[in-house]
């Protein structure tokens, strides 16, 4: 059990916001030292409380780093287009799923605030 848990942090999501204002969302993550990315790994946006990885709201294939041996290769970015992102007030999280369907990274939750609550959020 413990060993499996550690799998969920092979990929670490960085700078995840509490709220993403309307527009494209850039998702940054770090591949940890021993993790080897594969061509069909993907990053999904999941509603918190998801039960299977098929329940992703939207997903993007994870880019393959050009050369894994350079330091910058471990820092990756994916841009999710605004059009494909949720428009409700639910909580979502990023998950990195490898090509075998195993979850290798989980982010903290974030929201896409509806337009009328934006002002409040700016203040908060």
């Amino acid at each position: 059990m413990e060993e499996r848990h550690s799998n969920f942090s092979q990929v670490l999501f960085n700078n995840v916001e509490k709220f993403y204002i309307p527009g494209d969302v850039v998702c940054c993550y770090t591949l940890t030292e021993k993790f080897v990315p594969r061509p069909k790994d993907w990053v999904g946006v999941f509603k918190v409380g998801w039960e299977t990885t098929q329940e992703y709201y939207t997903f993007m294939w994870a880019p393959m780093p050009d050369d894994l041996n350079t330091e910058s290769a471990t820092q990756q970015k994916i841009q999710f287009k605004a059009y494909y992102l949720p428009k409700d007030e639910e909580h979502y999280q990023f998950c990195y799923v490898d090509e075998d369907g195993l979850v290798q990274g989980i982010s903290i939750p974030f929201q896409f605030p509806p337009p009328d609550s934006e002002e409040d959020i700016m203040i908060v």
Binding site: R4, F8, K40, G49, W61, C95, V97, L102, V103
Partner: protein, 64 residues
């Protein structure tokens, strides 16, 4: 093309762990927010007292 998904057993461990991760984060956020809240309330009370003080002073100075 849709991404692959497998191992139902692993998945329920993963989904539970994902929820625990999310819970830990919002638990912390709630605590911070409630703390800030109580700080803001104290600040409001202090400001209200100052405002009452300023008015009393103002009145005194205009009467005197």
């Amino acid at each position: 093309v849709t991404p692959l998904s497998a191992y139902p057993g692993d998945e329920s461990v993963a989904s539970h762990f994902a929820l625990v991760t999310a819970y830990e984060d919002i638990k912390k956020r709630l605590k911070d927010s409630e703390k800030e809240n109580s700080f803001l309330k104290k600040r409001i009370r202090a400001l209200e007292e100052k405002l009452v003080g300023a008015r009393v002073e103002e009145e005194t100075s205009s009467v005197g």
